[in-house]
Symmetry: C2
Subunit: 333 residues, 2 copies
């Protein structure tokens, strides 16, 4: 068996993740048991939720235990199989962890079709981020044609898909992103109606200009001041799918709090948290729709693939929180 | 025609309402026009939402204009009628304002039956507060038998009905109220499973003790720290009907904000504002149910009737915000 470079959690981070929070070592791999497959991982997905998995205490899923392999959604190629459904060369995705090789139960692997899209896309727009966007907007956001959708982190893995599905469903779509490059991308490449650069100042005035009929759906990815600003522009009966709050994940003190809660009452908003795992049974529906839109050129996807292998994991993860990435952030192993 | 003592808005309050914010004078009443009725008002309802009606700017209803009669839900007896559907002696309720007499279009009056309940109850448990409780808990809260409901301002006009309907629907009901007297009342008289005195300190520990299975529904009447404490004890999939936020209505600065917003994400909560006017078409359904439960002794109601007439309105209103009232606060005219 080959050697396996693997990132294990050594200590829980305070604030941003550092290299010291992980033991990154080369291990021996054991042999396969019946029903298992050996996957050579090629891409590891970097997701905002990872910061939550590293924290102690209750979150949507169990925290990663100190000493365990860092959890991640990854994609790779089957190298050896002791299950009849998989053969060497098959492309698969799943929760394989931050490592070079994974030995997993074959039931934990999802076969993906690299003739439809490159492997890394199956952990991006055609993977969990895409499915999250699909259910969050359509099921939680309950959009009606002609409404106005605002999405934050709009050039990100989830936000970019949310906005494009919004356009497919006949919404006016305004994205919030950081910096002129990302803003240009979501309008020129993805077809958003408008982009607002939150780093440019006066977010409220810019949003009011681009949302002349108010905001019916705010797809929440960030938390903090941006959220307060949008919440105060919501129309009566508005919906706020709460997908993430990336601005507060690394906070070492309790963040200032949502000051716009009065808008929930006055405008009778529905603010609803969700996670993609709640829709597990309906994954195939979402992947089918996303795949068809993607194949017809209606849904554009972009990955930002970073090199450096398992050793680069902590640094690449932090790019998410500083907003350095352009498109779905992926680590090449 | 008799003289009419009337409270008109003179200036918008900053913080608590004061006597100086109103012109309270005796006016001449004009004669009735065709289709109008003259109502001698007996009871004026004091509602937390009044503070919002006095503020400038967007709220759920238009603010009361400076110079206008203070808006209120009131009940009284028809003294003169120029409409065939009403006769002198009829008991009616409606938005009659803070005054001794109202001349109104007959369509704005709702006939009430004082053989079923005393007149003041028709602006309390059988009026808007009761209807608010009914739709807020059943439609927005979506309760399922065996779940745990926490209601704040639990001895108040809305909260007391919410908790009792909760018991009728098979929920475990825990009320939050201020002081031992109110706590005793909701358990001993109204049949709540437990009461927590928020003035006694350590709200979190007390709630945890009385909600051993967590909180499935939090009926929000207060805002502020109480809300944060309950939100952090919610179960996955919990619902938070947002009915009011009495703790912040008189705030002169933006309140600190909801610090527990992360719970919305982690626990996939649905936080939803509503106002009773949104359910206007279904009023009869609610009043019928409330009336039947009340007649069978299953729904207890209590009014705290204060004397002093129209002149006492500003002082009596403030009792709501200091929590001095026991039961639905009503001003006798």
């Amino acid at each position: 068996m080959p050697k396996n470079r693997v990132a294990r959690l050594k200590s829980r981070p305070v604030g941003l993740v550092t290299r010291d929070n992980f033991d990154i070592e080369s291990d021996e791999l054991p042999g396969l048991e019946e029903g298992q497959i050996l996957v050579k991982i090629q891409f590891v997905s970097l997701d905002p939720a990872m910061r939550g998995w590293l924290a102690e205490g209750k979150s949507y899923v169990e925290p990663v235990a100190v000493g365990d392999v860092m959890r991640s959604y990854s994609a790779g190629i089957v190298e050896e199989s002791r299950h009849p459904d998989f053969a060497p060369g098959d492309a698969v995705a799943g929760m394989f962890g931050v490592q070079e090789y994974a030995i997993i139960d074959s039931r934990a692997a999802l076969r993906v079709d690299t003739s439809l899209a490159p492997l890394e896309r199956w952990i991006g727009g055609l993977g969990m981020p895409g499915v999250t966007a699909y259910f969050g907007l359509l099921d939680i956001g309950n959009p009606k044609e002609g409404e106005t959708l605002v999405v934050s982190a709009a050039s990100g893995a989830v936000g970019s898909i949310v906005g494009q599905i919004g356009k497919l469903k006949g919404l006016r779509v305004v994205g919030i992103a950081g910096g002129p490059e990302k803003c240009k991308y979501i309008v020129d490449e993805l077809g958003f109606d408008a982009a607002v650069d939150y780093k440019a100042g006066n977010l409220r005035a810019a949003l009011k200009e681009h949302c002349p009929d108010g905001v019916d759906i705010y797809f929440e990815n960030v938390g903090g001041e941006i959220t307060d600003t949008v919440m105060n522009l919501m129309n009566i009966g508005g919906r706020v799918p709460v997908c993430g709050m990336i601005s507060v994940y690394n906070a070492t003190e309790i963040p200032p709090g949502l000051k716009s809660i009065r808008s929930v009452l006055v405008n009778r908003l529905r603010v609803q948290g969700f996670i993609v795992f709640d829709f597990a049974k309906r994954y195939p529906e979402a992947v089918k729709a996303l795949g068809e839109w993607h194949a017809s050129g209606l849904l554009k996807m972009r990955e930002d693939v970073r090199d450096g292998g398992v050793d680069a994991f902590p640094d690449v993860l932090n790019m998410l929180y500083s907003g350095e990435n352009n498109g779905k952030l992926v680590l090449r192993v």
